[in-house]
Amino acid sequence: MSGTRLLLKGGRLVDPVAGRDGEFDLLVEDGRVARVGKLLPADGAEVFEVKRGWIVAPGLIDIHVHLREPGQEHKETIASGVRAAVAGGFTAVACMPNTDPVNDHPGITELIMRRAAAAALARVYPIGAVSIGSKGEQMAELGAQKAAGCVAFTDDGRPVASALLMRRALEYAGMLGVPIVNHCEDPSLKGDGVAHEGLVASRLGLRGIPGVAESIMVDRDVALAELTGGPYHVCHMSAYQSLRAVRAAKDRGMTNVSCEVAPHHFVLTDEALEAPVRYDTNLKMNPPLRGTADRDAMLDGIADGTVDVIATDHAPHHADEKLVEFDNAPFGIVGLETCVPLVFERLVHTGRITLARAIALLSANPARVFRLPGGTLAPDAAADITVLAPDAPVTIRAAALASKSKNTPFDGWQLRGGVAATIVGGRIVYRNEGL
């Protein structure tokens, strides 16, 4: 990347951290932001013409993706996952440790980082397991994992069920300055549930998972975060009771608590399970699609600032694994390439949030919560940039996704707002030729 110069010319630059929103050119030199200003001269730099109406934003960061490698390469590989990431506008992703074997060891962290470096598209930040094998029994060597490159710890896919382990993890990770991220779900209340407990599950005869299965653990974790002062982040929040718990924590001044919401939880409700296709396994995710009150609470939390981050919980599964009875299908949908259009369509174009807030939820805030570089286009920042086309019509085509898996419920959806280009370290790694 050294020696290269790139000038993004035209367009509207929105950088919530720098407090900048207006027509600016942006000059990149040696992979970093060199200058932001009006009508900058090209001086031999490669020129990227940013079309009228397009947005130049700090590179988007998704702190919740499953890249499946090592161990489940038939679903996704690090290489295919980062292709999907940049196609979705993400310049960086943090990948979950529930690989096979679990990323509970520096050797696996290093392998992931090597593969990511070889793919050379989006930046990849590994997340380590809280406990060995994510079994919830013995704490993993968090210090060694951090030294190897892990940016956070979680047993995602599973909750940290033991309150004692959670307490110790928060204390220990607090010492290291790294957040503990919890998949909140009381195992006994979840049982063998497959859908949100409510009218729809009752009608369809699906075993329910109540919203409190999630919030009861959020409540517990907030109490432990208060006790320990450790940095705590709630994964893929879905229930209105969980949002209430996080809001109360923030209201009493707890700055060490943060949370994320996935697009499907602010776009869809459990009613989608009934129509147009009943029992569509591409609507089976954990936490499940919840009721209208929950969906609306997520929208409110996004608008009022309670929600810190939008993260996709990109969970690729092979088509054969989803083409089974609803009970037997794995939980999860792909999300990297559908996130931006859903955020534009449901949050920005509806006027629920400003464009700057949307960008903060997708770049500055994830960077802050996980203490990552990026999230701003101030001079000398890494030149990780996403060029957005807010008014571009987008039709989601599952078959055309860059991800190795196509398990999305949004196939065929026509939305407004897409990604024009993705630039990582000053290098254009994705360009939407259709725009």
Partner: protein
Amino acid sequence: MLKSRHLLGIADLGPDEIALILDTAEAMTEIAARPIKKVPTLRGRTVVNLFFEPSTRTRTSFEVAEKRLSADTLSIAVAQSSVTKGETLLDTVRNLEAMAPDMIVMRHACSGAPHLLARLCRSVIINAGDGMHEHPTQALLDAFTIREHKRRLDGLKVAIVGDLLHSRVLRSNVQLLNTMGADVWACGPATLIPADLARFGITVTTSIERAVADADVVMMLRIQHERMHGHFIPSTREYYALFGLTPERLGRAKPDVIIMHPGPMNRGVEIDSEVADGPHSVILAQVTNGVAVRMAVLYLLAGQEGEAD
């Protein structure tokens, strides 16, 4: 004629279609009364009974119905072992489809399994019970039996008592009886009431006395012992004490109340033997009517083969 080419659930049927099935079943009862109980209606047609869950009663009833209509039938009890061998439901059915059956009657432990097949297979699919979702032919035979005894469905008070949570019979019956204008009451322990059941448009209570009071029909549901590991009830003894249909409780119902049960019964758990075998019981009539109703369904769906979905 029926709008859908499959019978996946009562939810898909309108009142006219339900009435059509019941009227057709009425005509079918006459066949059972003949010395030679067979008509050529489905001659040359192949029906596969695919049971992923054990069920003597429903499977036998379908088999008898198919044979009386002269269909070629094949009954397959798919042991859980084929699942552990790694074959998917879809593979199993595609293998069967390669032998060109016309209809598949399917029982499966997972809700929605027949819907998956209906989407992906050529054959006409008849749901013979899917998980906790629907058991449409049971509800139809129940309605037929009620109509046989009460001459109508609308305005009747029907109390459904038992394990509501796990019951596909409940879900199908509620939809059918609601559609046909009955006043439906559902009663069971609080631990066995599905979330938001009252929003099905019925009255929900935990008092069997209230449910049974002035009822025209009392429909008992089986306590599913095999599912009782989730702290649902403390013991079957306590269940009988609180929810068992005893002669005393039955005394609160209308004098001409009928007692129904989809079987198999747990005597002394959900129902007292004296009630099960008493003059109000129509439990065996339900079994007899099951054949006629299933003949009607097979006949009506066979008539639509080849038509677009």
